[in-house]
Structure formats: structure tokens, C-alpha cells
Symmetry: C2
Subunit: 594 residues, 2 copies
């Protein structure tokens, strides 16, 4: 094959298949999906195809099945979409074939507008959609929490989710191959209509073309770093080191994380996830989090702290990646109240077991918090750093807060938990489930004080969520849902706590499949992640339009906008009886025409 010459190494399937077994274990290049064991269209259905290969535009709400003839209404070869300047929009084409296709590639042309205006082909990303094993909600349909020791108790199937970086593929006979198209309209684009084509070509068939037409609206979406929507997906550097088989915190590790974290930054992420103790979440993920700060108890009874890893990680995220708004440090009150330190006397890592309020807890944390404050101020990071907690008993949280304030009264504190009137004022960033509302006066006061108030999403929510089996529209619906609930953003507990074989199998020993991660190894995005970004962009557009309409006193339009946004609540859903995807279409049309 010529792919190495045509496409370069990293994206080349054949180049990757020649790599040693150690890489085959955790593939970064091409890989073989798990077998879809579900019933699918047989040869007789596929034989009814009028042409051996077909290519049309589908929609972004559907996870097209791999072994079924796609069920499409009118077969269209034109994708028409509207976008603000600076906005990213998604389309999905579907290729399906009766025969084997060799060396299939997809290329996008420049999108050309009037008077020589152009959106360059480099702004158009076309990715093969790949299939991953998923499961389903708990049998009661109420969520995806709990241990799943017996996989047969949850139905499994493969679903389209991974957006591959491998750009050349062989297709087997009687299979569908969706192609995800993402256009990032430049901020400096001239408003107007742009046209271009998407070409699918290969070795043993004639090139096929689809048309694209983007109407660029004369409004500008700011760059992601300027978005106000507070996105917080927890990063897991330990997963990356394990999957990429590189030494933790080595240059190779940072090289592996760079595109992954830049992708997160481009989604408007505001927070760096940092860990200040061993197993802040009791090692619940495939790769447990460890402490980024080594605490040494010296033989004279004093402590010393090694910030090398913390500094390198934070510096990387803040200065190199550009996620620079907030640094959340987990945690002083983990579920297992056992705290690691290196004991200079014995040369061993030991653990102190202590509850908040106990002397041993204070002895461990107070000197650290004081030194940490000093260090953060020295680095210029103090103002953006928070000591972060998960929901724990009230007394524990209060004792922890007391101690933090004793160390430095200006320390920021965050909580991912429930709403508690007693402590909310102390929490710079408070993330609570949608079922917990901020009282209106409290929310206003928090806003006035510059405090962040987000909605917390994990396995608990059946809808909207970003499991691998969730309807793609849910990911886009979620941020608007947050805005509709008067939250400042969304905290979803993980960005990339990968499972053992994340590219092939999104199921995990606990929680519904896909709960642990939303992007894939090898710098691969997902349908879920692209649609989440779509939703965040709508949230930003709502904010900008609300401001603009209020400023010019366009009350009718503002009311129309607010009414549409209000649909994105449990009550709105109930009352309108609309599908989330239809609701999004309606909202987007409004945001693009107001």
C-alpha cells in the first residue's frame, strides 16, 4: 500500500498493522472492532441495493448500524447548514456497500463563497465513524450506577461513536460506514453561502461526491477560551500513561496528552483536574489517580513537599494547553480517609488514617495547606486554585473547610455534591445534580460574588447523558439543559478515565458503558463529544443573543428565545412532548435567524 507516502505514518492503517504486539495491545492506529453479535440485515436485504455502493447524507442524531442497510428517508446528496462565524457544525454522511471496498478515503474540498471567499478544506474534518461495545441503563431505566459484575445481566451491542483518525480503510461487503463531518467556520469568514464537496474514493470503485453548503450568519462565536459556559470534565493523566504505555509524566506522556487536552480546551474546558493525595476516589476508575504532590514526613517531624509533578502538569495544562481558568485539587475528604506520605525514617510510603476534626487529620493537612498556599502564590496560581471535595457528611465538609480557611482564608473551595445551604457560601464552585436547585436569591448572590454554580452529571442521570448508548442529541441537549436550569455550566465527572480496552469496549465494571470517558485514545473524538461541543456552542449563542436582545430592547425576540430555552427542562420536555433532537433543531434555527 502507498498510504505511508500519501498520508504519513500516524494516520496510516497499514503502517500501524506492521507495529509490534505491544502496540497491538493498546492500538493507537488502526484496530479491529469487536464483533457485533446482534441480528442484522442478511445478504438478501443487501442484495436489494440498486447500486453496489451508495453515499448520501444522513443526520447527526443517528448511530447508523454497521451491518444494516441504512434506513434513510429521502436520499440527499446536499448537506445544508447554518453557522455563526467561529462556530463548529456537524454533519454525517453514510456510505454503504454490497461489495468489499479497498483503501477507502474521504476528502473535503475548500468551501467557496461569493467574491473569492473561502473556508479552506483544512477547516473541514471528515472522519470514519467506528463502533464500540456498549451496554444499557439499569433495568429499572433510572440510571446507570452500580457494579456490573455479571456482564450478561446487561445487554451489550456495538454502537457507532468513535471518530477515527485512521483515514484509509477497507470496507467489508454488506456494511455501512458513516462519515462524520465537522466544519469549523473561521471567525474571520465573510458571511454568506459557501459550497464544496466531499469525495469518497478508493481502489476498486469510482470516486463519489456529496455536496456541502454552509450559510455563514453574520454573528461571531468567540474562541472557546472566551466562552462563559463552565465546562468541567475531569482529566485522567494516569489513563493516558497506561494506555500509551509511556512512563508517567515523561515527555512521551505529555506528547500523548497534548492533542487530547487541546481537544478538551477547544471544547471550552475551564478546569484543570489535579490530585493531592493517593486515590482521591478510592481507585474507582480503571487507572486510579495518584498524588501529584509527594509529601515527605522528615525524621525531625516536619514535612517537605515535592511539587515537581503538580507544577509540570499544571504548567502544561495552563500554559501549553491553555486550560487556565481554574485548578481543582482533589481531595481532603476522600471516601477512604487514608492519606499517603513518604516516611523519611523508614523510606516507605505510609498512610495516616484520620477523620476531619481529628488531630492526626490536622497534623497531616494543615502544614501542607499552608505550604501549598505559599507555593501557589509563588507560582502565581493561587487565585485560580481550589481545594476540591466530593459530597461527604456535613460535619466532615465543615471541618475540612475550617482547616482550609485556617491555612489560608483566601483559599478557594469547590464541591461536587449536593446543595447545602449551610456551606454553599464557602464554595467558590459548587456543582449539584439537576434535581437540586440553587434558590434564586442564592444563585444571584453567587453570581454577584463571581462564584460558579454548575450541574453535576454522572451515572445517576438516565437522561440527558453521554453514555455510549445515549442518543447523540442528548450530549448537545445537556448544556442547553444546564442553561435552562440557570446553571453556569456542567461538571461531568470524567473526560478520559479509559477502560481496559477503550477503543473497542466502553463497558466497565461499574456504571453504564461510556460513563468513564467521552474521547478515545489516538486523539480520537466521538459523536458524543462533538455533539456536546455543539450544545455548549448553543449555550454560548443563547448567552450572547440574550445580551444583545436585552441591550436593544427586543423583548419579543428575547421572550421567544427564553421560551425555546425553557423547553430544555424536565417540564419543557413533558409539556412539549418534543424529541430532544427536534428541540435542538428548533433552537438552532432560532439562534441562527434571530
Amino acid at each position: 500500500m502507498l498510504c505511508a507516502l500519501l498520508f504519513g505514518g500516524p494516520l496510516c492503517a497499514s503502517a500501524q498493522t506492521a507495529t509490534p504486539a505491544s502496540v497491538a495491545k493498546n492500538p493507537l492506529g488502526d484496530y479491529t472492532e469487536l464483533t457485533d453479535t446482534k441480528p442484522h440485515d442478511g445478504a438478501e436485504v443487501w442484495s436489494r441495493m440498486k447500486k453496489p455502493v451508495e453515499l448520501v447524507w444522513g443526520n447527526t442524531d443517528t448511530r447508523y448500524k454497521k451491518l444494516d442497510v441504512p434506513k434513510l428517508g429521502e436520499k440527499t446528496t446536499l448537506w445544508r447548514a447554518k453557522a455563526w462565524k467561529g462556530e463548529r457544525i456537524n454533519g454525517q454522511a453514510v456510505l454503504w456497500t454490497r461489495e468489499a471496498l479497498d483503501d477507502v478515503t474521504v476528502t473535503a474540498s475548500d468551501l467557496r463563497g461569493a467574491g473569492g471567499a473561502v473556508i479552506p478544506a483544512s477547516a473541514v474534518k471528515a472522519s470514519f465513524v467506528r463502533y464500540v461495545m456498549t451496554d444499557e441503563l439499569n433495568k429499572d431505566g433510572k440510571g446507570g450506577c452500580g457494579h456490573r459484575p455479571d456482564r450478561t445481566a446487561w445487554d451489550s451491542s456495538v454502537v457507532a461513536d468513535v471518530l477515527d483518525t485512521v483515514s484509509i480503510r477497507d470496507l467489508q461487503p454488506r456494511s455501512a460506514q458513516p462519515v462524520w463531518v465537522n466544519v469549523w467556520v473561521p471567525q474571520e469568514a465573510t458571511p454568506g453561502t459557501y459550497k464544496g464537496t466531499l469525495t469518497v474514493s478508493g481502489r476498486n470503485f469510482k470516486p463519489m461526491k456529496l455536496n456541502m453548503q454552509i450559510d455563514v450568519v453574520d454573528r461571531t462565536l468567540p474562541a472557546p477560551e472566551d466562552w462563559k459556559f463552565h465546562l468541567d470534565l475531569w482529566q485522567n493523566p494516569y489513563s493516558v500513561a497506561r494506555y500509551y504505555q509511556v512512563p508517567l509524566w515523561s515527555e512521551a506522556h505529555f506528547d500523548a496528552m497534548r492533542p487530547l487536552m487541546k481537544r478538551l480546551k477547544d471544547a471550552g474546558q475551564k478546569v484543570v483536574t489535579a490530585t493531592i493525595m493517593h486515590k482521591p476516589w478510592a481507585g474507582q476508575t480503571e487507572d486510579f489517580f495518584d498524588s501529584m504532590i509527594a509529601k515527605t514526613k522528615k525524621i525531625d517531624g516536619t514535612w517537605s513537599y515535592d511539587y515537581t509533578v503538580f507544577d509540570k502538569w499544571v504548567d502544561f495544562m495552563v500554559n501549553e494547553v491553555g486550560i487556565d481558568r481554574q485548578i481543582d485539587c482533589y481531595t481532603m475528604i476522600p471516601w477512604a480517609l487514608s492519606f499517603d506520605y513518604f516516611d523519611q525514617a523508614t523510606g516507605r510510603v505510609l498512610f495516616v488514617d484520620a477523620k476531619p476534626g481529628e488531630q492526626a487529620f490536622t497534623d497531616y493537612w494543615l502544614p501542607f495547606l499552608k505550604d501549598f498556599s505559599r507555593h501557589l502564590r509563588e507560582k502565581g496560581w493561587f487565585e485560580k486554585t481550589a481545594i476540591s471535595m466530593d459530597e461527604r457528611p456535613m460535619k466532615s465538609m465543615q471541618e475540612a473547610i475550617k482547616l482550609i480557611k485556617e491555612a489560608d482564608p483566601e483559599f478557594k473551595i469547590t464541591l461536587a455534591g449536593n446543595y447545602h445551604d449551610e456551606i454553599q457560601a464557602d464554595l467558590y464552585d459548587l456543582s449539584i445534580p439537576y434535581t437540586h436547585k440553587f434558590p434564586e436569591a442564592v444563585k444571584a448572590e453567587r453570581e454577584a460574588k463571581g462564584q460558579v454554580s454548575t450541574v453535576y452529571v454522572c451515572c445517576t442521570e438516565a437522561f440527558p447523558n453521554t453514555f455510549t448508548f445515549s442518543a447523540p442529541a442528548e450530549a448537545a441537549w445537556l448544556p442547553v439543559h444546564a442553561v435552562a436550569g440557570n446553571y453556569d455550566g456542567v461538571l461531568r465527572w470524567t473526560y478520559n478515565s479509559w477502560t481496559a480496552d477503550p477503543l473497542r469496549d466502553s463497558r466497565f465494571r461499574t456504571w453504564a458503558a461510556g460513563d468513564c470517558y467521552i474521547v478515545y485514545p489516538g486523539d480520537r473524538s466521538s459523536i458524543r463529544f462533538e455533539r456536546l461541543i455543539e450544545g455548549i456552542q448553543q449555550a454560548e449563542k443563547i448567552r450572547l443573543l440574550r445580551g444583545e436582545l436585552a441591550a436593544k430592547g427586543a423583548d419579543t425576540q428575547l421572550e421567544e428565545l427564553n421560551e425555546t430555552v425553557a423547553l430544555f427542562t424536565p417540564e419543557g420536555l413533558e409539556k412539549s412532548q418534543m424529541e430532544p433532537s427536534a428541540m435542538l433543531t428548533q433552537l438552532q434555527e432560532l439562534l441562527n435567524t434571530l
Copy 2:
């Protein structure tokens, strides 16, 4: 009881019995011995005593039984002994009683000589001898090595060995209480005869007196730090921390070690035992040795080393205790080739498994050895520090030596192992079993080069040894034995690797009882240790007299001395058919009269 007023806390039995349970577990003050289950003299034997209590001088070669009427020849109330100025001499009195005795104490008077000369009472130490559980040699009589999982397979009994620091005791009816007397003749004492008394008194009997007469010879034994005999008993600081229940390397730990290590220094110890890795001896002792130097592998791949513990320990031993001749660092080639380091990336202690000659072994040791050399030179300790090994396969030892020399060609190296012609020249200090002889030319060459050549003693030797069941004379015989074999001293593999309950039970899961330690917790010496010092003093006296006699050409006397010393060899024993104790008596008489 009034003991607190009379004797002060630490030495007071009653004060100690009031201490909490945690101290009772590892007693430092008074304690209850294990029961002697052996047959012993019954009431009818004891009833034949003519007086209810008796006190006479016994000898230092006998471990008097606790529950037997002592078997003594002529009952003497006068102890006559000869000593050089600066020499320590031992005597043993025996007290035995038909009735219970309360609050028994022993006091020594000043020893007075002619013209107002005096050896003050403070130079005379009288200690109650206590009983410890022992076992025996292996059934083949050939040594004490090997695991002893089934205690019943070795006969056990209690034997007199511990020299107590508790100075007031209640004696049970029908029991013997030996009293060990040690007189440290001041170096500035006027030669001549000194007389004094030893008084035993108590609450329910009349004080009893014994006489002491020391003839101080006009020769001076130098202070222990100036002895040439190379004594090397490995110290175990970890045992002390555990037994005393104090944090490792804390001030309390050093307080506990101070008298213990000063006692060792006063025996002429030349070497500080230091450890540079986790479990240099695979954790074979009750308390495993750990690394005194923390090695940190940083995320940039370089290493950093924390010498805090090493420096504190060495500084304590060298500058405070005064054991300042040599610092032996164990080990690069342990039995289990697994090497600890703190991994900055993961915050964990990890181990690298590597054999000498492998790249991973070099990667671990070479940067350390280089930095260690730099650090030692900075501290002014380089000249006295050695990288120390135990016997390992020749190839391993050669690879280790090569690496050490690559790091710093001037590094000293020691081996406790067998004689190997191939590497002996590289070994600054080589300790070998008595069965391995240094070829005469090699020994001379080593002497000329200032290299140390000692005899190694462990569980292998049935005789002479310092097990708790060994005849007391063996401990004194051993150093002379070393001199007779043309060795520079003795390496016995441990000074204080205490068993779980060392005061009461000297048996261990491996090796014959007493192999692991020769002194006891609570700053207690032993019959074995005092007699070992006696033997080392004879070795020094031999050295000094040989020099003196050679200098003045007293060939006859020199020959007589050398012939007597030659008795202390396997051949001498065989040929003379003398008891070791008698041989020692003959030697001492000669050394005091030549």
C-alpha cells in the same frame, strides 16, 4: 518502696512495675523471666543449707543455675585478680537463699591501695545476673545454622546471661542470684594492691560482705578507641526503634541507642553499620534493615538522593558515640537482587530487579555511587567509608567491584565472605571464616597496604561462639583465637538484632539462640559481651607485649608468649587438651606477669 528515692527511676524495679502495659510488653525496667521447666534441686536439697542465705565468690566461667544450690568448691569470700591500668576485669559472686529475700541490693566500696591510692566505687559495676531462654546447637553438634520452625526439636532451658540494670530485687525462696562484678581500673591508677568490699543487703536479712583485692600491674591498656583489634559487630537501629517503641530516627530513638552504642564503642568497635538499600539481608532478622538513603527517580529520568538519615546515623555514631574508624555500607549485591527507589511520577516506592552486569543494575547503582562519593567527600567521610558486600557468586562480586571503581576508583570495598584470591586485593576489609586462611604472603601484603583481614563468625561455628548456651569462656577465647590465626580482628554479624522478646527469650526462628544479639534492651550487657571484651583486651595485651618484648630482644619471653597464644588454635586445643577457660587463665597470668 523507697527505691525511687534511693536509686532513681531508670534502675528502680518498683518504679518500673507501675508503668503502663505498653512498656510491660517490651520491658526496659524490671521484668519477669520465663519459667525454667528443667528439673532442679528440690526443697530437701535446699533445706540442707547451713545458713538461710549464703554469699561467696564463684567464677566467671559458670552460668550458675537459678533453682539449684550452686556447686562450688572451696567457698571463698575473697576475689583476687590482676589487671593492667585501664583494663576491665570480671568477677562473679553468687548469692543463694532458702528464704525469700526482699529488696536485695548490691553495693561496692571504693578499692583502696597504699598511700591513699583509690579505685573509686564508681569504677566497680555490680549487676544482678538474669536468666534468658536458650536452645542448643544443631543435633549434629556442627553449628547453629538453619531454620528452626519446630521449637520442640531443639531442647530449651533458661541460662544466666543478662546483666541487669535493675539494682533492687526480691529473691524467691530456694533460688540463686549470681552477681557479676566488673572493675574498670583507671588508666591513671597507681600500680599496687587495692582492697574493697562488695555488700549485699536487703530488708529482711543482715548485710553480707565479700572482699575484693585487685593487683594493678604497671602496664597500661590504651583506651578502647586506640585498640588495634578490629571488632565489627553489626548494629541494628531498627531493632532499637521497635523494642523501645519510639519513632525511627527520632530523638527518642537516638536517646535509646546512645548507651547501647557507647557500650559497643567501649568494646573497641571500629565499624559503623550503614544500609544503602531496602532489606540488604532479605529481612532475615526480626527487624529488617531498611535503606538509610532514599533514592528518588525523578520524572526527567535523573536521580536525587536524600542522605538525611544516613548523615544523622553516621554523625551520631562517629561524632557522638565515637565509633569513627570505618563506615560499612550494605549492600549492592543482596541475596534478593531487588532495589528500592521512590518514584516521583507515581509517588510510590518501586523496585528494580537487576543483576550485576545488567544495564538496569548499572542505571540504578552508578549514578548513586557517584553522588554518594561526592556526598561522602563533602562530609569528610569518604576515606573511612566502604561499599560492603556479603559472599555472592564470583561474577556478581566482580561486576559490583567494577562498577564501584567506575564510580570512584578510590572507593573502599569490604566483603564478609570466603577467601578469594581473584578479588582479595580489591577488598579493603575482608572477613573470612577461620577455616579460610589468608596465604601468608597475602596477609603480609594486606598489612603493608593497611588492609583489614578479620575472621568471620556466625551460626556456622559450634566453637568458639557467643550463643546464649555457649560456655562464657568461649567469648573471651574468640579474640585470642583470631590473633592466634593471624587475623586482625573479628566480625560477628550482629550486635543487637533483637528477637521479639529478647530479654526473656533469645531463641529465633533461624539459628541457635543468641546468634542475633549479644547485648540486651534497657542498656543491659551480658556475660557473653563482658567476656568478649575480656578477650579483646587480652588480644591488645598480646599485641603490646609482643611489640615490647621484640623491641627489647626478650626472645625467650616472646617465644613463651607466642607458644601460649598458639594454643588458641584448633591445633593447640587438640594438642594441649586444655579447657578454654584454663587456657585463658594461663594466658592472663602470663600477660600480667611478663
